[in-house]
Subunit: 81 residues, 2 copies
């Protein structure tokens, strides 16, 4: 069982790193890009014995408590076989 | 149109950051976690006028040339309306 956690800055939070990437990318001639925001991505391998429900609970708790800062970040959890 | 780019280390490349997270997480009692690998995640907003095909081409070129290091990293591109 595998969990994927995506952590992104909340829309109201400034993302200077994304802004810097966007600026460079536009200088390089990628004209159709209007905005870039950077986030984090985690692939979590779970022991084979856990059920999908346990995996989702555990991954959500992990994302909330450890992998993200809930004050400035949102997260999303996906479970895969 | 929105593109999402996921950048992960190739499986053969060591991920010390992921190892450190895994170690901390196991000390905190998340027993079902057997491995964690960290990657990067980018949300790219495209100008409204581009077609899905152009958006995919542009995002793939961007991911290959700028957002990832093809020697040690893999990437995946998703396009969303």
């Amino acid at each position: 069982m595998k969990a994927k956690v995506y952590v992104t800055l909340k829309p109201s939070v400034l993302d200077p790193q994304g802004k810097a990437i966007k600026h460079s990318v536009q200088l390089l001639g990628f004209d159709s890009v209007s905005d870039i925001r950077q986030g984090k991505y985690f692939e979590i391998a779970m022991n084979g014995s856990v059920t999908e429900e346990t995996a989702r609970d555990e991954a959500t708790r992990l994302a909330h408590d450890v992998l993200s800062n809930p004050i400035i970040e949102d997260f999303r959890v996906e479970i895969e076989e």
